[in-house]
Symmetry: C2
Subunit: 240 residues, 2 copies
Amino acid sequence: MLGMEVQVAVAKIGKYATSSSGDTVEVVERPQGGVSAVLADGQSSGKGAKIVSSLVVRKVIALLAEGVRDGAAARAASDSLFTERNGKVSSTLNILSVDYQTRTLVITRNNPAPAILARQGQIKWLSEVSIPIGLYRDTRPIISEVPLEAGLVAIAFSDGLVHAGERLGQSLDIVSCIQELLEEEAPSPQLIADTLLSHALRLDDYRPVDDISVVVLGIMKHAGDEVRRMVVRLPLEPNY
Amino acid sequence: MLGMEVQVAVAKIGKYATSSSGDTVEVVERPQGGVSAVLADGQSSGKGAKIVSSLVVRKVIALLAEGVRDGAAARAASDSLFTERNGKVSSTLNILSVDYQTRTLVITRNNPAPAILARQGQIKWLSEVSIPIGLYRDTRPIISEVPLEAGLVAIAFSDGLVHAGERLGQSLDIVSCIQELLEEEAPSPQLIADTLLSHALRLDDYRPVDDISVVVLGIMKHAGDEVRRMVVRLPLEPNY
């Protein structure tokens, strides 16, 4: 795997005319090597949803940092939310990880919305029935794990992407959109995330009816140095 | 501040021939709006240093997520490390924040290495005496806070940047390097971080004698959409 790198891209927008997105996404290094992106979408929208999703993501990150495996971290986050909110508040949870220990890419889903895994240009729609965390005791995630290889792409998103366009009677054909992107020469995770989100925004007439977050993780060819890089861009809120 | 955005860039490399960098950097959204970048450099290098710096950053992030202000979070992290390691292990700590509540940029330093604040093209070298956390009870950070305005740039780094080139009797003139960059039209934080790190790498003959991390936060003009974006790039380790 020499000459390869992990790229993670996040693109994210809040529901139109709300002050804060109810989605939370964080990307963290794993203690034994590798990286994890954690996405949670708290029930409802606005401030309350943000508190829940932030709580869930922080819990998962703290456990991953201690070396807890993704599936166990998701179950712990569920039990923790269930206990704290008496089973009355749910949150979706997705974890995309590159784990240097197991040399695998791991997709963890507690989310009715599907996730996507692309290998060698083939798109797999991960849609096995999966429920959000926090509503029941002992909620288990659906886990997909594949050996690391060049060209792997994993995609997770909040349901705002799935519901984009509904107000206008339209919907985003996510698979076709990704298929088209993958026909290009090794599209970057950044391009994939931006394209999906911009299609969704167009369908929502640039006034998203829900928070939309897209997270894309890919194993890419790498011709550069051994430097790790991160860039975050955050528009100052219009009402700032 | 309409039409402005916060950009945060991180560039980071481990000491040559060690498996993991002792530095930890994480970027998180603030619960009341805004963003914080947290950099810690654990004493010594390799695995032990990584455990310490990761612990410090996690502690700070957890507190920031609860709405604790930066200075208080730094003090709490210091007391916590002091208690956990009996005052025998130190770590540097820098926090760069854009706080929507106070409408300020906040630079928090527990680091003998200076930090930098550029306003309207003027570079301020923040070098007031500052000690790492963990060695004494009640260690206080040095805090610089300025109102948000277009063109503000804050830069923090681990001491690997300061010591780059020492083996070969050279050193990096950080201020001149930044001055030169600022003479360009609104250099992006990404360009600033990459340029500083690549200069340091060259002085170390591409075998860094210490972990080097550079974090740059800037308030930039923004002509795009309201989408928040993050990209992380992580080379797979050579010994992977």
